[in-house]
């Protein structure tokens, strides 16, 4: 029973990480209608930039800054430099982001191929273990849960309680009407893209004490982030949180109790949910 409780907590902490990754993806998709598949590569790049900055400066917070700000700048460059030239061509924009994945992965392989997995410890203040029902559990994973909750509250407040958030939500419902009311929707989209990218980069670095960093980590995590977005429902931060927690739990418990099938279980769950609720658990019906 203690083991089940600890495995559940483990799944929740992984689920929070998935929420952090997926929320950036879901925001961009909701506002721009673009599924930014390069988000996985931003996540990967954030991990590497964060580790490099931490090792160079000897400070974990420096790594966090590098991951967030660095990937925000990358997002800005991609949005202003590439995506805006395909205005209103959402299919082409998605294909462009696929190309970006391959470019970024191969650049990282070229620059930082060895060792294959870069390990990164949690900062010393967060690196101990606590005893959960007699089983040692890393403090960092508990902190990740708190960070996830804080980000969720922050996003919710931004979207529900600010004017900017109201514009974003209105744009998710009816972009044309928002533009008709004189809002500079291009600016809103860019701001959301930059925010979403930064969140992906931060998630990448925050995940390194658990997952390490590899050049290929973006593609496998991207897939799970897409599953989380689908399961939770597009256009809903609450949905992304619920989706993240569900997939994190299913993945963690699957690995603990059904290791042979663990890789398939999240996708089976996605299929079942889509059959029952095609718009996702908390998504708006289409």
């Amino acid at each position: 029973m203690e083991l089940l409780a600890v495995n559940t907590l483990n799944g929740i902490s992984y689920g929070m990480l998935l929420f952090l990754i997926a929320s950036g993806l879901a925001l961009v998709f909701g506002v721009m209608g673009v599924l930014n598949l390069a988000h996985g590569a931003f996540y990967m790049l954030g991990a590497y930039l964060g580790i490099i900055a931490t090792r160079a400066g000897g400070n974990w917070l420096l790594g966090l800054l590098a991951a967030g700000v660095g990937i925000a700048l990358v997002g800005l460059a991609v949005d202003r430099g590439l995506l805006r030239h395909l205005y209103r061509q959402t299919n082409e924009q998605v294909l462009l982001t696929v190309g970006l994945i391959y470019i970024l992965i191969n650049v990282v392989r070229w620059l930082w191929a060895a060792p294959n997995i870069w390990t990164q410890s949690a900062p010393s203040t967060l690196s101990g273990v606590v005893s959960m029902l007699g089983i040692p559990f890393p403090v960092y994973r508990l902190v990740l849960i708190l960070v996830g909750v804080a980000v969720f509250i922050g996003l919710w407040l931004l979207l529900e309680k600010t004017r900017a958030g109201a514009i974003v939500r209105a744009g998710m419902d009816d972009k044309q009407m928002v533009m008709g009311l004189g809002v500079n929707y291009g600016l809103v989209s860019s701001a959301v893209f930059v925010l979403g990218s930064a969140m992906g980069g931060l998630a990448g670095f925050l995940g390194t004490p658990i997952l390490g960093a590899t050049a290929d980590m973006g593609t496998s995590t991207l897939l799970l982030a897409v599953v989380v977005t689908i399961v939770g429902g597009v256009g809903s931060v609450q949905g992304t949180l619920v989706g993240g927690l569900l997939i994190g739990l299913v993945d963690g418990l699957g690995k603990a109790y059904f290791p042979f099938y663990a890789m398939f279980i999240p996708y089976i769950v996605m299929i079942i949910i889509l059959l029952v609720r095609p718009s996702g658990l908390l998504g708006k019906a289409q």
């Binding site: 998605v94 294959n116 997995i117 273990v129 590899t214 593609t219 897409v226 690995k255 890789m263 289409q286």
Partner: protein, 408 residues
């Protein structure tokens, strides 16, 4: 929503390029003109992907070895053609096709991942070109040595490593029960099956086996799930990540790690103190105190600027063997001449005098090592030396073990 699903599925799918059956081409035979032509050595190294840590070292050591020989042998210059396999069997076969059909190489130095070598053995076999690689052989070679007589390997077999680990764990360390975490692919299963067979033969018991899908880097569910045992048998790549998490979560049992060559230099240092005390089975370390080994270490340090690791030494030894074979054929690089020579020669290497037995396995010692720190470098201390033990067959099976009711 439909587009999301289509795109997600497309991102998940990989489709290897279709391959056609190889059309073997005759290898160049010795002739007065060919004697002046350069000898072409093809090398398939994992320069990117999961094997990148050791691909770079293999390239460095291979180039060092050829440079040490002056870039020539038996009056002919050597042309080294290195291709990157991306640690991917499909790419490895494509690159092998390029080396054999376009470059027409005389010999191929192979990569080291089991999934790659399994694909390559079958691909190269019709060409008959000698294929030599710096680590242990896997199942196809073991099961049909006559068909694969062009394949040479200078490591112990994976079986032998598993066997010797079981012997040492049971006899010297007194372990009677083992829990197991391995990556769910040939490189994890093949050495483990030999370990399990030997451990159970001696009277030990495997209490739990957790085969982990490739690509997992968060080990906590598997570590938390460990059942009580005297030791944990570990057979995973990306070991430093595992070791850090294992120690953080209590590090309950002593570790026996079957990945002797899976922890190249950078990974050993990354693992740091969390690797110390772990035992493993392999063929070489910089702490083996022999004149030939010490001479190699000194000259490598002088030329490259660091103490060599197992990947440096094994790649260097492979080149010494190739040079020895070409010297003995006096520059004849036809496949038949080279293969005959490889079975006959004895070569001076950092491992001592090395020759191949009729099965194509190198005859040299094997060791059980312990991870230690020496001059602030994590390295391997030899604990016990013994000959390489090639069992006739390994019959242990996971399904039989599960049906006995000891499984999870």
């Amino acid at each position: 929503m439909a587009m999301l699903i289509v795109v997600a599925l497309a991102a998940a799918c990989t489709s290897p390029a279709p391959t056609t059956s190889p059309q073997p081409s005759a290898s160049p035979s010795a002739s007065p003109t060919a004697a002046l032509a350069p000898i072409k050595v093809g090398a398939l190294f994992d320069m990117t992907g999961m094997g990148a840590s050791w691909g770079a070292m293999m390239k460095q050591a291979t180039e060092f070895a050829f440079n040490e020989a002056g870039g020539q042998v038996a009056g002919r210059k050597i042309q080294l053609i290195i291709e990157d396999t991306g640690t991917d069997p499909t790419i490895a076969v494509d690159k092998a096709r390029k080396l054999l059909e376009l470059d027409k190489v005389d010999v191929i130095i192979g990569p080291v991942w089991t999934n790659e070598t399994e694909a390559l053995y079958s691909f190269i076999q019709p060409y008959g070109v000698p294929f030599i690689h710096a680590t242990s052989v896997c199942a196809p070679r073991l099961n049909d040595p006559q068909k694969y007589n062009m394949v040479f390997a200078i490591g112990a077999t994976e079986w032998s490593r598993g066997y010797s680990t079981a012997d040492y764990a049971y006899d010297k360390l007194g372990y009677r029960t083992a829990s197991v975490i391995i990556h769910d692919y040939a490189g994890g299963w093949v050495p483990f099956e030999a370990f399990a067979q030997r451990f159970e033969e001696k009277g030990g018991k495997i209490v739990q086996i957790q085969p982990v899908p490739f690509g997992v880097t968060d080990w906590s569910p598997f570590i938390l799930n460990l059942k009580q045992a005297d030791m944990l048998f570990l057979g995973v790549t990306g070991a430093p990540q595992f070791l850090h998490q294992y120690k953080q979560l209590g590090g309950k049992f002593p570790l026996a790690f079957i990945g002797y060559e899976w922890m190249p230099l950078a990974d050993k240092q990354d693992a740091g103190d969390d690797a110390l005390g772990m035992i493993t089975s392999g063929e070489w370390s910089s702490l083996i105190n022999t004149p030939e080994n010490n001479a190699f270490i000194a000259s490598y340090q002088k030329a490259v600027g660091r103490v060599p690791d197992c990947w440096d030494e094994s790649s260097y030894t492979v080149v010494k063997i190739i040079l020895g074979a070409i010297n003995s054929t006096k520059g004849d690089t036809s496949s038949k001449a080279l293969i005959d020579a490889l079975y006959k020669i004895t070569v001076d290497t950092p491992r001592g005098k090395l020759s191949f037995d009729p099965g194509g396995w190198a005859k040299h010692s094997q060791y059980v090592f312990k991870y230690v720190k020496s001059d602030s470098l994590v390295t391997l201390e030899p604990l016990a030396e013994h000959p390489i033990n090639h069992p006739a067959k390994v019959t242990w099976s996971y399904s039989t073990w599960q049906s006995k009711g000891t499984g999870t």
